[in-house]
């Protein structure tokens, strides 16, 4: 099973923690919104879960990439 991060865009308020917690997969665009790259590999699963939990707006989810 492969995973990826999905953003609930209407809830996302930008400039958040997610890019700091998962820089391997998330960086911020020029307006501060997360750009998600690629799938979450097993070695990153823990960090990805932490990033999703840390999002103050519950806007970030770990979902199946299938």
């Amino acid at each position: 099973m492969t995973w990826t991060m999905r953003v609930d865009w209407p809830s996302c308020a930008a400039r958040g923690l997610c890019a700091e917690l998962l820089p391997e997969r998330i960086h911020l665009d020029e307006w501060g919104f997360p750009v998600v790259e690629g799938t979450v590999t097993p070695d990153l699963l823990g960090l990805a879960k932490a990033a999703a939990t840390a999002c103050p707006h519950r806007a970030l989810r770990l979902v199946s990439a299938g």
């Binding site: 999905r6 953003v7 609930d8 865009w9 209407p10 809830s11 996302c12 930008a14 665009d29 020029e30 307006w31 501060g32 919104f33 750009v35 989810r61 979902v63």
Partner: protein, 452 residues
């Protein structure tokens, strides 16, 4: 309302001639005053004031009979009673795909909705948000019972009675026509059985994205009718988390047609790989306030649809569509497969041929500007990215050399697939298509020129 419907005949190709069938909305063309540095407006961004429907092979075969239930039953017969397996097999064999733009196979949605543990909900979406589109409007006005038949047969097969109908508030004639059709059905003798659908109508607020599937479901759930993030397909989890079979009016009418005619009868129209027909909306050649809706069997040469306009550049699929270069359609036929092979798409069937003096770069800029303003302004990348893209495209259209190809590409990448709905994706598709089809013309603009 139905009394106001005047049938009209135009020969196919019909984009040029014909009398109005019915007014679809009060004429409300607002022409903006042009500032010195804005791109002149040539694209209509209001719904058409009038719609002309021309008789066609299947869905529009009864245009001249008028929209009444009696005429409908005389021509098409009684509603078939079919079980779920028969419905699934027939729509599958008829290869009916959704006509709202995404082109998803209807049978797969139906199968998913049927396997849910909770009872399914059926939704007819008539909220055509795209101003250039009028096919669902035309169907409501001239053939409402085809739409209702499709939803009713499928609702019965799913053993549900809950059918919602969403109409566009800015095209009040649609709601009127559907209401009239429903009261005709309610007055039918012997139709009081408990399995009869309980139709519920709702009007969607004006707006390009208010007809989007999730926006419609939000409206039905009693919340503001704006798109929200879909974590699962609506056929699995839609209205109140129930399996929801939401399709636009044309899809329901196509479903009714294939179920009535059988897959073989339906396949008498179209080609071996693409059975049946599709509705197209074109601008009227002489009257900018009028849209022409016609029905083309798959495999019909584009020249039969467009006439001499087939030699012009054509925007296919409307504001979220793709550009066909001048002459590309001259030898081609109406076929989703053929278009896909050329990197083009039919979307919801809007076909906008350009005039010889129209610059595709300027037209694209105008449309992107409109689309940026049509954003529901809830998702960061769409809210920030579309206006930035519109501004860059405005500079390109004006031949400002400060605009750059790199920046356009960057902005397109930053909006694509980064919203709750596909509005930014559609905008990205339009701009990418301009860059691909009219690369020379864009390059010329970036050097300060324009060939037209």
């Amino acid at each position: 309302m139905s009394g106001a419907v005047l049938a009209s005949v135009t020969s196919f190709p019909g984009a040029g001639a014909g009398a109005p069938v019915a007014p679809s909305a009060p004429a409300a063309t607002v022409r903006r005053s042009l500032s010195a540095r804005s791109v002149p407006r040539t694209v209509r961004t209001d719904p058409p004031a009038q719609v002309v429907a021309t008789p066609g092979p299947v869905l529009l075969s009864g245009v001249l009979d008028g929209p009444s239930l009696e005429a409908h039953r005389d021509r098409f017969g009684q509603l078939p009673q079919l079980d779920l397996d028969t419905v699934l097999a027939t729509v599958g064999a008829g290869a009916v795909v959704g006509r709202g733009g995404a082109g998803f196979p209807f049978a797969r949605k139906l199968a998913a909705a049927a396997t849910g543990r909770r009872r399914a909900v059926v939704v007819i979406n008539l909220a055509e948000g795209e101003p250039a589109s009028a096919k669902d409007t035309a169907l409501a006005l001239v053939a409402p019972h085809q739409i209702l038949d499709g939803a009713e047969v499928v609702a019965r097969a799913l053993r549900t009675t809950e059918v919602h109908i969403v109409t566009p508030l800015e095209r009040p004639a649609v709601g009127d026509a559907i209401a009239a059709a429903l009261s005709e059905r309610a007055a039918q003798p012997g139709r009081r059985d408990r399995s009869q659908p309980r139709w519920r109508m709702r009007a969607a607020e004006p707006g390009f994205v208010s007809g989007q599937a999730r926006a419609v479901l939000e409206l039905l759930a009693g919340r503001p009718g704006l798109p929200v993030t879909a974590w699962k397909p609506e056929a699995m989890s839609g209205l109140d988390g129930r399996p929801t079979l939401l399709s636009n009016a044309e899809t329901w009418a196509q479903v009714a047609a294939v179920l009535r005619m059988g897959a073989l009868g339906y396949a008498a129209h179209g080609t071996d790989t693409e059975p049946g027909t599709t509705l197209l909306t074109l601008p009227h050649r002489r009257d900018a306030d009028t849209a022409v809706v016609l029905e083309a069997a798959y495999g019909t040469p584009w020249v039969d649809v467009l006439g001499p306009d087939v030699e012009q550049p054509v925007l296919l699929g409307g504001f979220h569509g793709t550009w066909a270069d001048a002459g590309v359609l001259a030898e081609a036929t109406v076929s989703r497969e053929e278009l896909r092979a050329r990197g083009l798409g039919l979307g919801a069937g809007v076909v906008l041929p350009m005039r010889a003096d129209q610059c595709p770069v300027a037209v694209t800029s105008e449309i992107v500007d409109y689309l940026a303003k049509a954003s529901a302004r809830r998702c960061g990348p769409c809210l920030n990215g579309l206006p930035a893209l519109a501004e860059e495209m405005r500079l390109v259209a004006l031949g400002e050399t400060s605009a750059s190809w790199t920046r356009i590409g960057e902005l397109v990448g930053l909006v694509d697939k980064r919203g709750a709905c596909a509005h930014p994706d559609g905008t990205a598709r339009l701009v990418r298509s301009l860059l691909t089809t009219f690369d020379d013309e864009v390059a010329l603009h970036l050097r300060g020129g324009c060939s037209r």
